[in-house]
């Protein structure tokens, strides 16, 4: 709170003092120059290679490469599964965050640390272990098989792997907002006669909604690009359980560099769009929580 007036004063200062403020600390040229060089070499120039490679295709070739029936089936699977997984994560991520912030129970610190497991566990390890669990002879699979439920080697497996990957995104964006939520508002609602459910619906939920949406978008974005955990459990049948990143790998293995690039450009555009959406959501969240009336 105290930082806000001082920031404002700094902006209002005249030009000379602003330049002086910049000059007091050395290293601006060095650090910015290094940052821009490194960013260009590692990220920008290689990404531009992707765009330039696409320009070697005619529009018809490009369109044919990105709308082939197998590719279209992979978009449907990738988007559908990512959407379902992100929605599941919104529900359970909110629940886990709520339980971790509001209640006390034995082993809470361990559970809290464990939430980040999907960030720390290599995706390939997650992939083979989920497969081992859910295959017909696995710990979980053996009880589901008699009921005719198959969770591995089909689109269900894709959804499960993506739920695993996306969970921490929702928990970790909602958790700090819940921690900062002002209990006084809830007390006021309760004093004014609201039931607990009304308080949650009308007071708590609106304040965490932006964070929840941000978490959803992040989990969704991550799920769309995910490769390692999915390919083991998906079964990878063309038209049925083949995700879009696998299509790119498949085209590369057939030395169809142009085709792989075209599909990659489509994925890249989607990533950019999601990145912009996430940025906008975060700005909204900051306005919601940061602006003091």
């Amino acid at each position: 709170m105290t930082a806000i007036p001082s920031c404002k004063r700094r902006d209002d200062k005249d030009m000379t003092s602003k330049i002086q403020f910049n000059r007091v600390l050395p290293g601006f040229g060095l650090t910015l120059g290094f940052t821009l060089t490194y960013l260009s070499l590692i990220v920008l120039i290689p990404l531009s290679a992707l765009v330039f490679k696409t320009f070697t295709l005619t529009w018809d070739q490009f369109w044919a490469a990105v709308t082939g029936s197998r590719v279209m089936a992979s978009y449907r699977l990738t988007f559908g599964a990512s959407l379902i997984a992100a929605l599941v994560n919104v529900v359970f991520g909110l629940l886990v965050a709520w339980v971790l912030v509001r209640y006390n129970f034995f082993g809470k610190k361990v559970v809290d640390a464990l939430v980040d497991l999907p960030f720390a566990l290599p995706t390939a390890v997650a992939g083979i272990s989920l497969t081992a669990l859910l295959a017909g002879n696995g710990w979980v699979g053996q009880y589901l098989e008699p009921w005719g439920i198959q969770l591995a080697f089909n689109p269900n497996g894709v959804v499960i792997a993506l739920i695993f990957i996306g969970l921490p995104f929702v928990v970790r964006t909602v958790q700090p907002v819940l921690e900062d939520a002002e209990k006084e508002l809830e007390e006021a609602a309760s004093c004014l006669g609201a039931t607990r459910w009304q308080t949650f619906n009308r007071v708590i939920f609106p304040s965490i909604a932006p964070a929840l949406l941000t978490g959803f978008a992040m989990a969704f974005a991550r799920a769309i690009g995910e490769y390692g955990s999915v390919i083991f459990i998906a079964g990878n049948m063309p038209m049925v359980s083949e995700i879009t990143p696998l299509i790119i790998i498949g085209k590369l293995e057939q030395y169809d560099y142009a085709g792989a690039t075209a599909v990659a450009v489509v994925m890249l555009i989607i990533s950019f769009a999601l990145l912009l959406v996430i940025n906008a959501l975060q700005a909204w969240q900051r306005r919601r929580t940061g602006a003091p009336a």
Partner: protein, 297 residues
Amino acid sequence: MSTTLNSASRRTQAGITEPAWVRYSLIGVALTFMFLFLVLPLAAVFTEALRKGVDAYWQALQEPDAWAAIRLTFLTALLAVPLNLVFGVAAAWAIAKYEFTGKAFLTTLVDLPFSVSPVVAGLIYVLMFGAQGWFGPWLQAHDIRIIFAIPGIVLATVFVTFPFIARELIPLMQAQGSDEEQAAIVLGATGWQTFWYVTLPNIKWGLIYGVILCNARAMGEFGAVSVVSGHIRGQTNTMPLHVEILYNEYQSVVAFAVASLLALLALVTLGIKSVVEWQHARDLKATADLPPERPTV
């Protein structure tokens, strides 16, 4: 005093918490979900690895190909993490300590590799350095191999772990402002002294946090590395790629043995991360408990 506080807080809490049965069922559902999706997969790695006993487990880890994979994984992390550490500190210094146009855009660009699919991350280096790529003919003429060799693996890893340290440090350094650094400079410290004695102690927890997360991802990266590696056994297979090959050859126990090492790495990462968070919270609390120097006007 504590009893009056307690009873008072209990009375106020009656209106702002849920009935006990709701609390316990919510905790129950959340823990069941966590158990099914997080604990079971983790436990499965170790049980599958030890399925044929401890001897088979040790033997699996002593294969020369497994060792080569372990060495390559460590080498990759040893190169990628310091590179991104230097970048992270430089980027955070430039973005947090100065005002310039395009700052928000630059911050977005730093985050960009997070939203690019790992497979696309691998592909872009193939398009740059592969046989068909921009520099492909030149590299071939000079007998330099990048793709299907170690440099490509390192590059792809650097790309996917690019934002980890920078994005930890930028908000941290922005929140801390630059008053302390300016004071040091005014008192006659050089830039390096200021960084070393003023900035670094302030950001150390964020730095450690970023480094261990960066390291975990660098050692565990699969998709991007898989595209540029070429899967040459004993030469260009990192641990995750080695796991994949073994698994696809139905050598389940050996695959899970190598995977268990990666799972251990994940557990160590989570452990260090939690300790860092607790330490950081303690430091913050210690600073908050200090008497205020003077009211900010």
